[in-house]
Amino acid sequence: MPASSRLSGRMDRWAPIVFVAPTVIVITLLMIIPFIYSVYLSTLSYKLMLPAKMIHFVGLDNFSAIWKQPAFRKAIRWTFEFAAVAVIIQVTTGMAMALVLNNKAFGTKKNVFKSLFIMPLMLAPIVSAKMWSLLFQVIYGPINYVVTLLGYSKISWSGEVLPAKLSILLVDIWQASPFCMLILLAALKTVPKEMTEAAMMDGAGPVHTFFRITLPLIRNFIALVVSIRIMDALRVFDSVVALTNGAPGGATETLATMTYKTAFRYADIGAGSAGSILYFLFIVVFSLCSFILLQRKAVTS
């Protein structure tokens, strides 16, 4: 056996390590260590404004302090309400869009619409929110113009609780429905045409066919879209900052904006870390639960 091939054999044994080493190093240095460090920070009284020697260990005080804050509880409630409402509407809208694009009418000409519909998905959330803020503008905005045409008085979209919440919801629906559409369109393509056609032949209407045949077949995809979207919706930050920045009176403050403000505006690194760890736990529990629940339903039906 030539020496060179023995050498390459020895080098080959190292191949898995060589390939994954950069990834593993990055994950360790930039994810695992900061995560552990964050847990450590959450047990400290650590204020950015105060000198470093004032930093001291406080155990779980940060957690109990943040948990007792009414503002934090309010933010939890609104974040979950927002995620639930947003995801239901997004998945429904996305489904409607996917069905329309998957319909045989107009054939491939509809592909143009697919490219148009995915555009919101590509834009920066902050840019979309700014674009919508032009539409929501109180005096000159086209939305308020239509509102006055309908005989109502102008709405202050960031000054009143319900309109502020609605505006954040609307922007999120605008931005994320196309994502649901893409996944559900891929899902619809997996449904064999013969099955829906056979049902139609048997005299089932399109609505009946959809709910009895199509929907059960793509249930796993729906579970997936819902859990991905819940995960993202619970993280909503950019559009809140751009549209209301928590106003009015903290009514639209989400878990993300709360933690951000605690850590950086009030310069409390310890409480901010505690908040973000609680926040992470909520996301894990909630998205896992929704996924398991939807998956189980898919199995039983």
Partner: protein
């Protein structure tokens, strides 16, 4: 008859969706080229009559927008190159080899995808402060790579998993080393995957806001999304025209990408979701 009804319904839905999804973009584009008098006008000017570039001129003179545009371009490109280089190798390693600790690392990347960015930003802020990476573009590249890595790894594992194992076996027969197999067999086949991943990572980094909001402060280190969000604070009266112009500028790269590489984007989003 039935066919006509179907066509009618589809057409109706298509128009409603097109209006809803396109109108904000249309409004921003047209507002950006309207003169000031036309922007503050009631009833609103639905179709622009006069065109002007003063909004764009304002954006460029009042803010360091050119500088900011190139900052964004630099951060997004560097993030893309580094992420794709690391994950094209890592995805191959995780997909082709079985070794101890493999599933630990694979599951870690999945869990990391669920972690809200804020959980990382706080320790990053403290660590960056200590090592002098705060308010540096290189610091932003590092955090953006971290943010993009989990999805990119997942996409690449999917791409490599799809490759038939026979091609690797025949390469072994030909006396190819593991490195040779990667370079000569896997890499040419994964090129479309590299395109898909690069586009998604680029768009993600280009659109990123919260990381740069916290980790940079100087005007000349700002990225586009942050610059756009702070336009209102910079100017006295609500600068609708400038916001529209800046928004349009920020839209350009993503719109160009979405029109020219739609096929790859659709694949990336669906593959990332379906496999992730």
């Amino acid at each position: 008859m039935k066919r006509h009804v179907n066509r009618l319904i589809v057409a109706a839905f298509l128009s409603v969706f097109t209006f809803f999804f396109m109108f904000p973009i249309y409004w921003t584009l047209t507002t950006s080229i309207k003169p000031k008098e036309a922007i503050i006008k009631l009833p609103p000017e639905w179709f622009p009559v006069h065109f002007t570039l003063t909004n764009y001129a304002d954006v460029f003179t009042q803010n360091h927008l050119l500088r900011i545009f190139f900052n964004s371009l630099f951060v997004a490109s560097a993030t893309t190159v580094i992420t794709v280089a690391i994950t094209a190798l890592g995805g191959y390693g995780f997909s082709r080899f079985r070794f101890r600790g493999r599933s630990f690392w694979v599951y870690t990347t999945i869990i990391v995808r669920m972690i809200p960015g804020l959980l990382f930003i706080i320790p990053y802020y403290v660590m960056f402060q200590k090592v002098g990476l705060l308010d540096k573009l290189s610091g932003l590249v590092i955090v953006n790579v971290t943010a993009a890595l989990p999805l990119a790894i997942y996409l690449f594992m999917g791409f490599y998993n799809e490759m038939p194992s026979e091609i690797f076996e025949s390469a072994t027969m030909d006396g190819c080393s593991e490195y040779g197999k990667f370079a000569k067999v896997a890499l040419p086949l994964v090129t479309p995957g590299i395109v898909v991943t690069s586009i998604l990572v680029f768009i993600g980094a280009w659109n990123e806001f919260s990381l740069s909001l916290i980790l940079t402060f100087s005007d000349d280190k700002k990225l586009l999304p942050l610059a756009i969000s702070s336009l209102i604070e910079v100017q006295k009266d609500t600068p609708l025209g400038t916001i529209a112009a800046a928004g349009t500028i920020a839209m350009i790269p993503t719109v160009i990408l979405s029109l020219t590489t739609q096929k790859y984007i659709v694949e990336g989003f669906t593959a990332g979701a379906v496999k992730g």
